[in-house]
Symmetry: C2
Subunit: 356 residues, 2 copies
Amino acid sequence: MFPATRVAELLGTRYPIVQAPMAGGFTTPELVAAVSNAGGLGSIGAALLAPEELRDAIAVVRGLTDKPFGVNLFAPLPRAEVDAEAVAALSAVLAPLRAELGLPEPEGAPSPPPSIVTDQVAVAAEERVPVFSFTFGIPPFETVKEAGAVILGTATTAAEAAELEEQGVDAVVVQGSEAGGHRGTFLSSFDQSLVGGIALVPQVVDRVAVPVLLAGGIMDGRGIAAALALGAEGVQLGTAFLGCPESGTPELHRRALAGSSDDATAVTAVFSGRPARAIRGSFVDVIEESGVHPLPFPLQGMATMDIRNAAAADGRMDLLFMLAGQGAGMVRSLPAGELVETLVHETMETIREMSR
Amino acid sequence: MFPATRVAELLGTRYPIVQAPMAGGFTTPELVAAVSNAGGLGSIGAALLAPEELRDAIAVVRGLTDKPFGVNLFAPLPRAEVDAEAVAALSAVLAPLRAELGLPEPEGAPSPPPSIVTDQVAVAAEERVPVFSFTFGIPPFETVKEAGAVILGTATTAAEAAELEEQGVDAVVVQGSEAGGHRGTFLSSFDQSLVGGIALVPQVVDRVAVPVLLAGGIMDGRGIAAALALGAEGVQLGTAFLGCPESGTPELHRRALAGSSDDATAVTAVFSGRPARAIRGSFVDVIEESGVHPLPFPLQGMATMDIRNAAAADGRMDLLFMLAGQGAGMVRSLPAGELVETLVHETMETIREMSR
């Protein structure tokens, strides 16, 4: 038997295994539904979806599963300020790369897009999504909660977990330093809040009463059993699902994950303006070695998008923004439903081995 | 029953629990012997001991226990180059701090001490120590192995673990990013080899055939059970033993550990010249914000020793070099033997809970 946890009960799933919401086209409705149908919780990484796109995605998922699923958004951030000097400094550093790729120099500065969080949250409430999760801070979630959703917040330290509990979340996803993707940090500094799961989980569960899920570096049943041993009552896996055929992971990204090792990633703000763990390559080196500061999130991503598009077309893996946790080298290419079943089997097997 | 592992069998101990060797006066013979007498493996952090001091320490430990114990040394490093300009730049940054503490400006530059590793290794061989471990690379250990010692090397990545196995170690201690103290990294870059235990252990055990111990962030039975779930067959705890009355931990250091939180530490080279995880304070901030580069190990430590000595006398915790892992906030002040028994009990309890 898989260990009984408050997380599975809360989410209404068979297993306390969440497929991490990854914004940017990875979490297709097919992936989300396959995970939920297998007894986990599929999650739509909806932060970059326009409100009507989110409504459509929810409808497609509902057409593929009658099981619970989640929708994840970014908390609103202060509007990024455009600094013309910083934009020019960045362009100067990237000029040789643009010349190499045959790209023209960018004209003008990127302009911060208007925030759509309020409208996205309204869709989540109207659609009565079963689970609503968020990262980068705390968006106003009262309407979604009143509409019946289970609320999950993201923390990177025990203090952040305590703040989420205070604000009324039903459970906390703690993001260990191993995790791929953007850091959810909102109270501590990005540097100091890179805490490994082994040290993080016990300190969080000793601090809060709500159940805790661990995200970061978990790729198989060994990681899930470890999370449960530490006191987590659930897990969230992102990188592990990037290899599934149902995910929207581009082919070059899949290849990079499969070929990576434990020291292949870095936490860097060079791609988007906000620290994120991704596979290290020459784009990271060029900007970090130049000493230029990345533009604030999301301007850095907008200002460098042309380079990534050209790199993708040219097969230049070293220039792409490929999110990956420190466990990336263990990625598998199983269909999502089969992956969930395998994770469950491995977890029970690991626990059985330990208790022999 | 505590799970049977190859590590306990190899070490000749009742439990696969190693008290980490911490150089600098922490691992008193009383601490080492208490851990070994309780069924763990006590270890002498001998890197800073002169050969005859090491011989004496071994004799005292042997007078207190007839159980196996370990001796740990640093691998020889390339001789540090003294750069007069770098020394002057550092002195300029530290001048206000020295004025504040009433210290004179240092005269001249620190001179790299002659290496004593060869003589230390000779003592370990002559004394036929039961277990010999090392970090920072691979010292010549043939004579110690021939004298009957079990050999443990330290790795921070799967590639380093594979190299240690290739060179003939009996087991590998993998140091997760959570670990307090100096990083053992010797092949990868210090930045990229900060891998959390959850991601690190499975990738190492999938790569090497020798048994693996996890170090980093483990403070209680939850962490030990997690390490075993991940595939480790033993654990090494440092910070957890700093709170024991038998350890040589200074009072200010004990207080700082007890008052710390998951985001209280940083990996920094400002204290010794080599990256180490320690409690963050204003000494770290002053040097990091100045942009000055620390001198190479061990010159940085020699060049700043006067400040730490004065800070200790003045109770200035913010200036001290206080090694600590990310689990420091969970430190306990139990006697070492009682701590080992508690860890064993908690581990078995955690496994029992999981398998219910």
